[in-house]
Amino acid sequence: MALKLADYKTEVHNDWCPGCGDFGIVNALQMALAEMGIERDKATIFSGIGCSGKTSHFINTYGIHTLHGRVLTFAQGGKLANPEMTVVAVGGDGDGLGIGAGHFVAAGRRNIDMTYIIFDNGVYGLTKGQASPTLRLGEKTKSLPSPNTNYNVNPIGLAVASGFTFVARGYSYDVRHLKDLIIKAVRHKGLSFLDVLQPCPTYNDINTRDWYAGIDLAQESMERHSRIYKLEDTHFDPMVHYDDETEVNEKLSQALIKSLEWGNKIPIGVFYQNEIISPYSTRLTDKIPNYLENPPAKQRISENGLPITDVSEILDSLRV
């Protein structure tokens, strides 16, 4: 039976603020799952803590709402033990780039075949609007007592530097584009990262929906000037085409430079994609040939309540 979009929605009451950018992301995610036809019981959404953390409760697949900053650790463990499962991890920018930054970097190094989506809004919403890692130095969102004293993290740059092999940015008010990005990210063989710009209507009064839409710029020039533009509409080619140091370095640095663009022109789309770097499962099958056919979650460990693992060779070697 083909699954419809509605099948991916739960009846859980959604208590996000009216106008929250998170709605667009959860919709895009549900649409992507439906379009890919992934069975509900073959996908798990892992989420962090904060408003975005509730995402897993709104999606009718396996949903694991974890701890602040730790979503990638739970998600990687789940995927490693059951590699057949589609795994998407979601969380806020404070979750992933503040408290969880160490896990972000380490996950990049592993390149496990799953997707990580950051709901990037520059504030800690659920604790009433403190500055989060992507808020720029000197910016003062409305509940800050004084302007932000920290430089911002560049999520795209950090992902590229950490070894993520698919790095993209979406915008939560361009749901169709975001849905397409999610599909590309999930289909990518390796760890994919999506930085989703997501206005927080309650606490971030700087990077608002109107600001992204360039309403302020429009007033100056009397025409519409969305700040957001799509990389695919330019000549930007994010793909590493062959295994060559110059090629890889060029694509990496181009992604980094592109990620620094901000202000009146903000790129979305795929910044970097490298399918040459081996996903973690390949690194495992190199030493455990049947890992994918017989992963931890599928292994038989007992028969009639007794163990079937044969350790006699080890015990023989210890015999005196």
Partner: protein
Amino acid sequence: MGSIDFTWLIGGPQGSGVDSGANIFSKVCAEMGYRIFGKREFYSNIKGEHSYFVVRVSDEEIHSNVNDVTLMASFDAETIFRHFNEVPKDGGIIYDSDLDKTTTDEVLTLDNYFKARLHKELESKNKPFTIAGVLEIAKEKGVHLYPVSFREILSNLAEKTENPKLKGLSRLFNVLAVSLSLGLIKMPLDPLLQSINSIFSKKPQIAEINKQAANFAYDYAKSKFGNFPYALTGTTKQPDTILVQGHFGTSIGKMVSGCRFQSYYPITPASDESVYLESHELLEIQNDRPGSTIVIQTEDEISAMGMMIGAALTGTRSSTSTSGPGFALMAESLGWAGINEVPIVITLYQRSGPSTGLPTRHGQDDLLFAVYAGHGDFPKIVYASGDIEESFYDTGRCFNYADVYQIPVIHMMDKFLSSSVVTCKRFDPQKISIDRGLLLDKVDGEYKRFAFTEDGISPRSRLGLDDGVFWNTGDESDEFGHITEDPQVRIQMMDKRMSRLDLVTKRVPDDEQVVSFGVHDYTVISWGSTKGPILDAISILKKEGINIGFIQIKLIHPFPSDYVKSILKNAKTIIDIEANHSGQLGKIFKQNVLREIDYFILKYTGRGMTSTEIYDSLKKIVENKANKREVLSHGA
């Protein structure tokens, strides 16, 4: 004890082969039928600091080390300075005669605290601050001295084998020291050569050189060394004996129990287990394709914990192995596993705290921490093993508890266990059972992960199971696993989870909770690795006509209060023995059994207890000469 009760010590700078020397010696003794109890002591250092290995050898069952060293094999000065006092009358010291004039100041790794104490002793006995000085003290005590020039042996060997490279090869000192020892105690030569073969099986050339050196030194000791009152010529071999290192019980136990995912962050003394699991990651499965353990070295212990939980949610038996500092980082996720009823096993190899503490030394410092780890009220099991053999079977139990009660289990181990090398009965995998509890293979109809049931345990789906979709959250949740803040559901959910503690004490068999070695007027309570030295101490006392009881508490949380109370009803004096400062089990005991501890025997130097120390303290207690707190301090 039997006719042979012999303790051998080898010491040297870290990285000089003390360990492999001790391995060769232990293997030879074990091959000759003796029981072995060995332990390794080392600094938090890679190269240069003093490490040593004591191996106790007996023809009867032994479970501990003793204070006295019968024969010390040294090839450096520091070992002599630090340990000469441990060798009693009639014992022996093999030492490098080229070191005679070495002063304490020339040994840069001798710290000032130790030096000050040693100088005081030497001054009081009017001896120079040199090797010759300390050896004079030993000699006056009646210790046999066996001087030998290691340099000379090597040059003779080089000449004899026409291999000039051997001349300055100080890497051979350890094999020389072992072989000199074995020659002196008249152990046959063959097992020594075989043992070298097996230890260097992958490096035949090195094995050859070592064998030449061994042969030469062995003959040297036989022909040149004078008499020694001890001869170990072999005894009846016990059937089905294995020689195991500290972590083998839990690591092989994990393989057998079906643990297929282990995440960890490097930490002493726990990581050996994970490294061993990874080096045996491919598993042979009866009548099936090969299995495997996925071992992941994570970026920190928080990640190790998160990954383990993620893997456990797929229905995989999952675990981690850590020590105190790492466990401290795991506390938050432990609560997550608690509220979501995730079966996980944390193998906690304790060391001395607080903070980094004595990072490579022993301690049973983390019992209260394990019991209370995590914020909020949630159920968990804290289970303690007393020796390596036991830890194999206990590992199986821990996974069953985790699965059956859907609860995190903390398996208490420690550095004393992890750095022991002992002979024991071959592990029997068929004595481990596997009970996955209410883990589902298929789901019919509407599924609720946290469905209310009579005993509070709900059928458990796993990520990826057909029709088994569920949710988890660290928030309070309803039966589906969705967030709720409803006060009535909160009561039901808290009660559902916490009722498990009573289930555990009710359903886990008594002999898995507490092991009683007899109860008398004086009865010892203890937990974990103190078991061995306690057993040996009370068996000596028994031979002297003094009966001391001992109950080993294995299930520490939930505490089997009623059972412990009933076992101890005839005990008049309770003695708590633990390797920590505050008598942590004593606190738990008092809180649950509502009874005072009469005496504490405690040790927190970071060195394991010897049976000698426990014997001495118990005797003082029986003779009414003891303090309420007897604090032990033996060991360099």
